[in-house]
Amino acid sequence: MGLKLAFKEIEDIEEKDGGALDLLKRRLLGVAAVVLFFFAVIILRLWMLQITNGSEYETRAYSNRVRIRDIAAPRGHLLDRQGREIVTNRPSFNVVLIQEDSNDVGDVLKRLAPVLKMDISELWEKIRDASGTPRYLPVRLKEDIDWQTLAYLESHNHEFSGIRTEVQPVRVYHYDDLAANVIGYLGAISKKEMAEADSEIYSGQEIIGKRGIERLREADLRGEKGQNFTEVDAKGFEQTQLKAVEPLPGREIRLTLDNDLQQIAESYMAAGDKSGAVVVMEVNTGRLLVAASAPSIHIEEFIGGISKNAWQALLDNSRHPLLNKVVQATYPPGSTYKMVTALAGLSKGVIDENTTFFCPGQISFGNRTYRCWKKGGHGTVNLQRAIGESCDVFFYQVGMRVGVDTLAEYAQKLGLGKKTGAEMEFEKEGLTPTRKWKQKYRKAKWQDGETLSVAIGQGFNIVTPLQMCVMTSAIANGGKAYRPKIVEQVTDPEGKVIENFTPELLSEVPGVEKFLKIIRSGMEDVVQGKRGTARNVAIEGLRIGGKTGTAQVVRLAQYKGLKDENIPYEYRDHAWFTCYAPAENPEIAVTVMVEHGLHGGSGAGPIARAVLAHYFTNKMDPGKVDKAVPVVPEQPEEGGE
């Protein structure tokens, strides 16, 4: 009402030819326009902030006042086949800095350094390393602090603005380095891994599996992190707890490994300062009871991140401790390949159990002479004896008759030359050479003489210890190559079984049991025969079928004829021993590869023997098994091939 009157009055002024006062008052209309203009601008701005962008600012106000802190989920435990804990967790306390909440980082760090017994420059370095990450995310200053430090920081937390302690479960290794190369280790998620990871799950601060089962089963083991919602004021002091979502622990994985057997295998390898691998597999299922690689990594070095020097030392080590030699190293199979040649010969009808060849110690083929390892020759041998005494000439003859492609075909059917698909990383394929392969990759025609080398497991042939064990199992079980598996069972925190072991067939050679029977009788002679090459493996009360093998390392002329101990380590031959037991009804296959171990029987045999003895001590009538095999290894004895 008043306003209306007022404007009417201004109009009146304009109509009258008023005095100076009226002229002045007339300008009030313009003034009112200016005031109303600003009113409109302010209301419009208010609309923009509160209506148009209201929800966005609401979110920002929420994230201002609500701090969401992740609660790390305890990682799933790893057990052996009997449920014994190999890897579990314990809580560790880390000191972190939340930069956003600190009013004076420099001052806080200066006072914190002596408490943590660290140098201030180290602390600054950690903060520099974290540059680029949001300021509300914690920067880890020190991990796994002791109880006194924790108690001090908790009781003085108001003196250190922005400093918090966070609980993080860390791994506990109950058997030290047991199966370390298979189980693997953890480490802080890298920027590269973060780029590939699901940002819903990983925030960039996590510790994740870097190698082995820890990496391959990350999804099972990690669990789901929990979240703590607290209301904070502008200085970052927590006011009230709003809600908390408890973390969901990771799934428990029961492995097929047997701690006792694994320990025996590893300690025998370690005691002889041996490099190589030991694999024990159930012949009728593919369960891996032992998967040992020597030398092993030391898992303690990896907790909290391995130092650069330690890592470089591992890389430089000529024994390659970082390799899981069960699948990541390949060797010529040597004489262990003779079973493949035998099966090919029997299946193709080239030989039967009565076929004999005369071994004079060597044969000539083309313009070359191919020697048997026994200079004087084996005389007239049939297949059983040829395997038992590992006669090379016999298998030259068989190989020559079946040809390299047939050898490769049977090798593949028994599990060689292709990945087994066991849950181990960077598995090597190995190689079962064929004519086609040589033409394609070596750009050369196959020489028939090369077939002879292949027939006794030399030449282009290479296999992994795991493939060798699969092959041995297949020979023992009637021709079935099972996929080696290491996970027995996965259970979630409520105890629900997520995954159970089931045998899986890789390939099968059907209708060869009658041939394998002949081959196995030869393998039994290897251990139990009078002239067997691994008589030292024999255990009273247990029939074992096995085969020794020597994988030639580059033989330089200058080392020929030298006594074993005079050959430099790196030029000594690799030693294989692969076997199964009990011969009557095979249960397990044991494969031992000792790098530069010289002879299969002496170099690799004792380790297999110790494993078998322990396994069957528990399985069979105790009285029948030779208890003399010590769990703690002794120096290997001499044996001959």
Partner: protein, 373 residues
């Protein structure tokens, strides 16, 4: 000297008074929330402001009791007193934020730059009403007002309090433009002002002041540093949404994300808790008060009355506009309170005295015979 006329009560403007009362009531309620949770010992800000309301209301009653024509005379001692206080503040002043602004009177810390704004309004109104030039003022006519403005302006700038000094300049420009300048004078003065601003940027502005202006231009660039205040204020107001978070429920304010939440950023607290509707109601009332002030000017019985009413309105209007645009992120952070709404005794007292003058002009609009005896 004071003759109480019954007609005075008849002409007491209930609308003006009601508008003032409503804005003050909102301010008080808002301050209660803005000063929660209480910080440290002593009287919480809303209580202190409550006492300031009473003091200011007394001053309001005092100033309507005599005819505003008396201000032609009282203007001189008032001007002298304020100038002395400004000098004292500069010499003995209580330092805050790098500036010497307050004189400690024991029970009350007086900020003389606040009443200086009102003093300038009265002084210029008095001068321009006595020296009336219909065809527009020339540069020569402006020498006296420029000097009268320059003295307090310089003293305040020296404190240094750029925001308040700027307010004096704005009041001078508003009132001078309102009484009409010659075009040539306008152009000359405009040119000189531009030059002075240029010089000021290079020579006079402190680094923190430049920083504030630069931060304003890109507040998101440094959200934890100088852009923090603007950003947090925008978040507070914006997160209020349509209907607000509810009285005493503002998280930005109560968890201290808002800086200066009971002084310069008091409106952010209101915006957060009452939302768009509550804010629109408050701003509408506030601008209605200003428009009503212009109505008072329109009905004033003489040139002095018009100029006084206009001056008081422009004094409140510019501060309110700058403060509101600042808290909503449209202007850089300058220490300008929202009159009546922000905590601060000096500002409240000055504003209520100004509104008292407005009421005075309103009540005496028909009393042409009651000019000075």
């Amino acid at each position: 000297m004071i003759r109480i006329d019954r007609r005075l009560f008849e002409h007491f403007d209930m609308i003006l008074f009601l508008l003032i009362f409503l804005v003050c009531a909102m301010a008080f309620f808002n301050l209660y929330s803005a000063s929660f949770p209480p910080k440290g010992p002593g009287m919480p800000p809303y209580m202190r402001q409550g006492y300031f309301f009473l003091i200011s209301f007394t001053a309001f009653v005092f100033i309507i009791s005599f005819d505003y024509q008396e201000l032609h005379f009282w203007n001189y001692p008032f001007y002298g007193l304020i100038t002395i206080l400004l000098v004292l503040a500069f010499i003995f002043g209580h330092s805050a934020g790098g500036a010497q602004r307050w004189i400690n009177l024991g029970f009350f810390k007086l900020q003389p730059s606040e009443p200086a704004k009102l003093m300038l309004v009265i002084t210029l109104a008095s001068y321009y009403s006595r020296k009336e030039i219909v065809e527009g003022y020339t540069l020569k006519d402006l020498v006296v007002p420029i000097i009268l403005t320059a003295i307090p302006f310089g003293l305040i700038l020296l404190q240094p309090d750029l925001g308040t000094a700027m307010m004096l300049a704005v009041i001078f420009v508003s009132m001078t433009l309102f009484v009409k300048l010659r075009v040539s004078t306008f152009l000359t003065l405009g040119g000189v002002a531009m030059g002075l601003i240029g010089v000021a940027w290079v020579k006079v502005l402190k680094p923190y002041q430049k920083q504030r202006i630069q931060t304003f231009l890109n507040p998101e660039g440094d959200p934890m540093g100088n852009g923090y205040q603007i950003l947090q204020s925008k978040i507070a107001v914006g997160s209020g949404g349509r209907f607000g978070k509810g009285y005493m429920e503002g998280t930005q304010g109560h968890l201290h994300f808002l800086p200066e939440r009971h002084t310069d950023f008091a409106f952010s607290v209101w915006g957060e808790e009452w939302g768009f509707f509550g804010s629109a109601i408050f701003i509408s009332l506030y601008f209605l008060l200003l428009i009503w002030g212009l109505v008072v000017a329109l009905h004033a019985r003489d040139r002095f009355g018009v100029l006084l009413a206009f001056g008081v309105v422009s004094l409140i209007f510019w501060q309110a506009a700058i403060n509101l645009l600042m808290v909503m992120g449209l202007l850089p952070v300058v220490g300008i309170p929202l009159p009546l709404f922000s905590y601060g005794g000096s500002s409240l007292l000055t504003t209520m005295l100004g509104l008292g003058i407005l009421m005075n002009v309103r009540m005496r609009r028909f009393h042409s015979s009651m000019a000075r005896d």
